[in-house]
């Protein structure tokens, strides 16, 4: 794809954004989740950490979004904000809005929020070893969620929990076992069963397989793919593993220093990455299919999150950075109605990434 014709100047860009909003406005009721310009800080004794800096996200029905970025990019804080579970103190939502199915999350009472969690939106946490209650049987932990959200008798809830166990591939007779009797992969299956017990419309999976071995990871991804299809669930897959994104996601948001630096469909981002950071991520991966001598790492480190930046946060590590990048915050540049990158490089019409030739 030749991107020259698609790189728009500021004026055109505005037009395109309006056009996009118009289109999506018509279909607004299909948006499961919308995050608008979210800012989240952690106010600690040692200073204020700006974890999320202007995060934007839109997710429609049945879509799966991969949220990709490194440690400290603000992926998990964004996810916790959706569930309103950011620990406070020290976490403070500074500004922005999150709409779940059109409802403003921050305007809901705690009671209503509790009703949403688990039934409309649920989350799978990274570490299966610590997210289950060690003194309650796994069956009871699944049934508990079901009883909380659906008017079912204990017996009916137990039956529903048994079905969930079977769906995620655990034998029914393990209903009365405790978490310590399960291996890591099996525990993660139990957690998936809990998360999906009330067939939520949105599932947030925060590095669900990072703690697992590859062959077990393959099993779990298979289970998740199947269930997503079965229940028409929308999903946010938080991961640092681009391989998992390629496998399971339709859309990709690449996150750096608390905001999205590139967003597009899986095809767009993987075949034509437009942000230098995205390109850098691909280049630094050891690839099974190539045996080049040296990897090409991204030099330097993530920026200090206690500093508020006024220019591009990636510029100090960027291969393409110029003086221009160090003058102002970069603007969004659209390459198609679904693909954008936040990079000042594209202010120059002839700018193009050239380190990674398209696959």
């Amino acid at each position: 794809m030749d991107i020259t014709g698609l790189v728009c100047d500021r004026q055109q860009e505005n037009v395109m954004i309006c056009a996009e909003e118009g289109r999506e406005g018509a279909a607004a009721n299909h948006l499961i989740l919308e995050i608008k310009d979210l800012f989240v800080d952690y106010e600690t004794d040692d200073g204020v950490v700006h974890a999320v800096n202007g995060m934007n996200m839109k997710l429609g029905r049945k879509q799966t979004l991969g949220l990709v970025g490194e440690t400290g990019a603000g992926k998990t804080t964004t996810a916790l904000s959706i569930l309103r579970l950011v620990p406070n103190p020290p976490g403070v939502i500074k500004s922005g809005a999150i709409l779940l199915d059109g409802q403003d999350v921050f305007a809901l009472s705690e009671h209503d929020m509790r009703k949403l969690r688990g039934s409309f939106v649920s989350m799978i946490f990274q570490d299966p070893m610590t997210s289950l209650n060690p003194v309650i049987t796994v069956g009871e932990q699944i049934a508990e969620v079901i009883r909380e959200h659906q008017k079912l008798s204990k017996k009916e809830a137990d039956e529903a929990a048994l079905e969930m166990l079977e769906i995620v591939g655990i034998a029914r007779d393990r209903f009365d076992d405790y978490p310590h009797q399960f291996s890591g992969g099996m525990k993660q299956r139990v957690i998936i069963a809990i998360a999906l017990a009330c067939s939520p419309k949105l599932l947030i999976a925060d590095e669900p397989t990072t703690a697992l071995d590859v062959t077990i990871q393959a099993q779990i991804l298979e289970v998740m793919k199947g269930l997503k299809e079965k229940y028409d669930t929308s999903m946010i897959m938080i991961t640092h593993d681009l391989g998992i994104v390629a496998e399971i996601c339709d859309l990709v948001s690449v996150v750096y220093a608390g905001s999205v630096v590139e967003h597009g469909t899986l095809e767009e981002v993987f075949k034509h990455p437009c942000h230098p950071y995205t390109e850098g991520l691909f280049l630094s991966l050891p690839n099974i299919n190539s045996r080049s001598e040296m990897l090409q790492p991204i030099p330097g480190l993530m920026p200090d999150p206690t500093e508020k930046y006024e220019t591009c946060p990636f510029a100090p590590r960027c291969h393409y950075a110029t003086e221009h990048c160090r003058k102002q915050l970069p603007a969004k540049h659209w390459f198609s109605s679904t693909h954008y990158a936040v990079c000042a490089g594209y202010d120059a019409p002839e700018f193009r990434l050239n380190r990674r030739s398209g696959q």
């Binding site: 071995d213 496998e247 691909f282 991966l285 690839n287 045996r291 790492p297 991204i298 480190l301």
Partner: protein, 319 residues
């Protein structure tokens, strides 16, 4: 004539547990040529780290022999072995827990030199520490910093500098990058590779991440439940895996390439308990090709193609 630096013969490490013997490493043999890298690959609990530690006698082996430059490591006296250990170092997985939080960067790097009484002169020692920090890419101003002030990548650089401080010939890298972010991972991998080139180091690279060893190793040994089940030159292993477990393992890696075509093999079940194992192929309970013969005794590691060893009697004829 090949220049073998390390030879491991029938290495065994059993742990006794209340429920019986745990076969962590069971009859593992391999050798490495000087200046090469052997990737030791497998999933958690397969015995790869225990193998590394048994080679260095950080864990006393239950049986078997380790020859380093022709000398049987187990036969050496404590004193002789101490001296030999200067040539054999290890870089640990977790740069967050493997460094003493109360020691400064400079002290951590200097400690092995002081213990081995290699450099007694203070200014010469300072010079050596500064030199090591430069080699691994640590800024000189960090010399008085403490590990908690540094990020994972820098901490792992300290681990590398410490391992290099005694001018070793051989380093065991035990998952040196698995706790790091991808962009930092590449920095450390490149550093290790450069050091190998510059100093002629020999590595055993222990990891669960096959894409990392593919990039890094000359040969790969795949372990399953304490045994090596396939051992081959890297290219042969990736292009032509023979053991059903290796095949499944390779197919399970998510690849960040949309054009990558492959058939995923999902292994059923989970790794068997390594305690009181029956005398049968260790992978038989999960293998999709299991035949009655697989249940009778453990298949030996056999050379099926040049330098390509497989412990599966049916490997070549499957699929």
């Amino acid at each position: 004539m090949t220049d073998t630096i390390l030879e491991v013969k029938g290495l065994k490490k059993y742990f006794s547990t209340p429920r019986g013997l745990l076969y962590a490493v069971d009859d593992v043999s391999f050798s490495i040529e000087r200046g090469k890298t052997l990737g030791l690959v497998g999933e958690s609990g397969c015995g790869k780290s225990t193998t590394g530690r048994a080679i260095l006698r950080l864990l006393e082996p239950t049986g078997g022999e380790v020859y380093f430059e022709g000398r049987n490591v187990a036969k050496l006296s404590r004193k002789q072995f101490h001296k030999l250990r200067r040539d054999m170092q290890i870089i640990f997985q977790d740069p967050f827990s493997s460094l003493d939080p109360r020691m400064s960067v400079g002290k951590i790097i200097a400690e092995p030199i002081i213990i081995n009484k290699l450099i007694k002169d203070k200014s010469a020692l300072e010079k050596r520490v500064a030199e090591l920090m430069e080699i691994v890419g640590l800024a000189p101003r960090l010399i008085n910093s403490y590990p908690h002030e540094l990020d994972g990548g820098r901490r792992q650089r300290i681990g590398v500098a410490r391992a290099l401080s005694l001018n070793p010939k051989f380093i065991i890298c035990d998952e040196p990058v698995s706790a790091l972010d991808v962009s930092i991972q590449a920095q450390i991998l490149n550093l290790l590779k450069q050091l190998q080139k510059d100093m002629g180091l020999t590595y055993i690279f222990i990891t669960h991440d096959l894409s990392v060893v593919n990039h890094f190793s000359d040969e790969i040994a795949v372990m399953y439940l304490g045994k090596i089940i396939e051992h081959a030159p890297t290219v042969a292993l990736f292009d032509n895996p023979i053991h059903p477990y290796t095949k499944a393992l390779l197919s399970a890696i998510p690849v960040p390439d949309l054009d990558h075509q492959r058939q995923r093999i999902i292994i059923k079940g989970e790794i068997t308990s390594p305690i009181n194992l029956p005398d049968e192929c260790r992978f038989a309970p999960r293998c999709r090709h299991t035949r009655p013969e697989c249940r009778q005794g453990q298949p030996p590691l056999v050379e099926v193609q040049e330098r390509h060893f497989v412990a599966c009697p049916f490997g070549m004829g499957l699929d």
